[in-house]
């Protein structure tokens, strides 16, 4: 009996540290933030809990533009990351050969440098008098007084770049474990390359696609560094608003309400996406079943 009990209790025991950590550092702050979001007041008078649910509606009507922009930019960046990342992951997984690990390392190494520094370098690279713009002007892609830095293009490009590894790595992981025999079987059955890709490789890599898009989209929607450094107020995303509400204006209730709204929207989007892509793909079980 005690042995059985032990056996039954062990998993829970093992869960304890993780649950405890989440309770203290996730759940408690979340509750505090929720309470904060329902307060009214100013920094001078202090904030009092008045169950001010209008904080949410006000935040939404004041900042719907930035919300929409966040999802637009994050969506675009996710799409571009997928378009760039998939072929790259594919080549590494199937054609990498002995270079595989080196290539993977090459994907990751730039990210040893801090996020901020990399974004600041982009700022320099894309600068109005910088090299990239000189070239683009030279070949006529950008007009004489056109610019790249501080535009939607630079912000989306920055986000795409910064979250690219989060796309590539899960894609690689799911492509890499595809059983080569399945592809051979496809060819044996007279599948053309395109058919084999569309009907075997792509479906089997869906867990990677879903994981990659989520890992890119979620942080990208909350990002504020790219819009801050590579954009202007007209490119600001919801993260910039929360940042400034919280730190500059010291309007904690609105900042908290905005954070909750962002979480809620994100949850809805993720659920819809899971619906479309299928929960098996989301949980990565489709590949296992084979």
């Amino acid at each position: 009996m005690p042995a059985r009990l032990k056996k039954a209790g062990l998993p829970y025991l093992l869960l304890l540290p993780g649950l405890g950590f989440l309770a203290v550092f996730f759940l408690v702050p979340l509750v505090i933030m929720w309470i904060e979001s329902l307060k009214t007041g100013t920094i001078d008078t202090g904030f009092t809990l008045t169950w001010e649910f209008s904080n949410y509606t006000d935040a939404l009507s004041d900042y719907n533009e930035q919300f929409l922009r966040s999802f637009e930019y994050a969506g675009l960046a996710t799409l571009f990351a997928l378009l760039i990342g998939y072929p790259l992951a594919y080549v590494i997984a199937f054609r990498g050969g002995r270079w595989r690990n080196a290539l993977l390392l090459a994907v990751i190494v730039p990210f040893f440098v801090t996020y901020l520094l990399r974004t600041i370098s982009w700022e320099t690279i894309l600068s109005d008098d910088g090299l990239v713009l000189d070239v683009l002007r030279g070949i006529g892609i950008v007009s004489e007084n056109g610019r790249l830095l501080d535009t939607t293009v630079s912000v989306v490009a920055g986000i795409t770049y910064n979250y690219l590894p989060f796309m590539i790595l899960p894609l690689y992981a799911s492509l890499e474990r595809i059983d080569g025999r399945l592809l051979e079987a496809g060819y044996d059955l007279y599948g053309r390359r395109r058919d084999v890709f569309l009907r075997v490789t792509l479906p089997l890599s869906m867990p990677g696609v879903v994981a990659g898009t989520l890992l890119t989209f979620i942080p990208a929607a909350g990002d504020f560094i790219n819009a801050e450094l590579l954009g202007t107020p007209r490119q600001y995303m919801i993260g910039n608003v929360i940042q400034s509400r919280y730190l500059e204006v010291a309007d904690y209730p609105t900042a908290a309400a905005l954070s909750f709204l962002l979480m809620a929207f994100m949850l809805i989007i993720v659920l819809i996406w899971a619906r479309i892509a299928g929960t098996e793909a989301l949980l990565g079980t489709e590949g296992e079943r084979r």
Partner: protein, 405 residues
């Protein structure tokens, strides 16, 4: 977004600013020395603050610092790179008083710092801080909330004697009982000589279509709104909220049309150096520095007026070594100590007698109007009036919306 992200944001924010801090110091501090003659003018602006300052009926009575012993440690919270690089001034203090100075460059932004310390200060603890340095309006807020102690002026003989007259009675602290200037500076126009078609004379240049997309302004509301309001004909020393709102509307137009590229803290120094911005609102102290590195950068006090501000030392309630802190404040008011600081930071320094010392070390420095402005130079400056808390909230709110948040 989870709360941990808020911390991250704050952390990033700090990272973001830290590498640039050499300038930051200039930004906030830009204190140069107001020459004695300027005092008359400043004193004049100072007298008519309509509100705001530290004399509301509701504020708690500040405690005067009791006499005591010099402690073994002193915690000074200041802006980055706002003191001589070698920290000789601190070493001299340690040597003379035997108190070790823990000098922490933890203030990057008035509001951010306030957010960080508010809870501690509210509970009457200072988080170990003995001195913090904040800009006028924030110093006023600290006083209003009863977060800072009252000096025992008999312990501040040098400060009393050497504080330049122009700064002796600001509206928010007419007797300098709870604040003592660290440095001052000016918000005005910084521009690239090699990029503009002609030398800008006024704020007109910021709205000149030829510079579309090459204009930035500061995220510090008083600098940006003050300079624009003054240009629109308002007097920021007395202007109504509506007049400031008009300036904010004008700035909004500039944002909508793409005229204004963005709003910056100190990082404008790199934008203008790279040529991403040409005509901007910036700080005088930076200009001195930038000009040394790049002769194409210049600073202009617009004819309609530049914004004059001061950063102040205060002793928070609950400071463990308030008595020692007072000694420190008085110590930096010795001209020979201040000269080291002024020589490095290039701001307007609030201590008389420093110009004479620097004239021997580096005559060019002593001649620089941006470091030691004369009263004719300061004729063209204004002090942003004290705002009532609700006015401040309203303007901050509107301004933050314009700058994109």
């Amino acid at each position: 977004m989870s709360p941990t992200n808020d911390d991250l944001e704050r952390h990033f924010e700090r990272l973001l600013r830290d590498p640039l801090t050499r300038r930051r110091l200039m930004q906030r501090g830009a204190a140069g020395a107001l020459s004695v003659s300027a005092l008359a003018y400043l004193a004049a602006c100072g007298t008519d603050e309509p509100s705001g300052g530290g004399n509301g009926g509701s504020e708690e009575q500040a405690e005067t610092i009791a006499k005591g012993e010099v402690g073994s440690q002193l915690y000074v919270a200041n802006w980055p790179l706002y003191i001589d690089e070698e920290r000789n001034s601190l070493k001299a203090f340690e040597k003379e008083y035997g108190a070790k100075v823990k000098y922490v460059e933890e203030i990057n932004d008035n509001t951010e710092f306030f957010g960080k310390v508010r809870q501690q200060y509210d509970q009457g603890t200072s988080g170990g801080r003995d001195i913090h340095v904040v800009t006028d309006w924030m110093a006023a807020r600290m006083m209003r909330l009863g977060y800072v102690q009252k000096f025992d002026k008999s312990e501040l003989p040098n400060a009393t004697k050497n504080l330049i007259p122009s700064l002796q009675s600001p509206p928010f602290d007419p007797k300098r009982e709870q604040s003592m200037p660290w440095q001052s500076g000016l918000g005005g126009i910084v521009y690239r000589k090699d990029k503009v078609k002609s030398t800008p004379k006024s704020v007109d240049a910021l709205f000149d279509p030829d510079y579309k997309g090459k204009v930035t302004m500061l995220t510090e509301m008083r600098d940006t709104v003050g300079v624009v309001a003054a240009w629109q004909g308002a007097d920021p020393e007395t202007a109504s909220v509506d007049e400031f709102m008009e300036a904010i509307d004008k700035i909004q137009e500039g944002v909508d049309s793409g005229q204004i590229r963005g709003f910056t803290g100190n990082e404008y120094t790199k934008d203008i150096t790279k040529g991403d911005s040409w005509v901007i609102i910036g700080w005088s102290g930076d200009a001195v520095q930038l000009k040394a590195d790049n002769p194409n950068v210049d600073f202009l006090v617009p004819e309609s007026g530049g914004h004059l501000w001061t950063d102040n030392m205060q002793i928070p309630v609950g400071a463990p070594e308030a008595y020692t802190a007072q000694k420190f404040i008085d110590f930096v008011y010795r001209p020979e100590i201040q000269a080291d600081i002024a020589e490095y930071v290039n701001y307007i320094c609030p201590v008389s007698g420093v110009k004479e010392i620097l004239a021997e070390r580096d005559p060019a420095l002593a001649e620089n109007q941006l470091i030691f402005p004369d009263d004719q130079f300061l004729e063209n400056t204004f002090i942003f009036r004290g705002l009532k808390p609700e006015e401040e909230q309203e303007l901050d709110d509107a301004f933050q919306q314009v700058i994109g948040a």
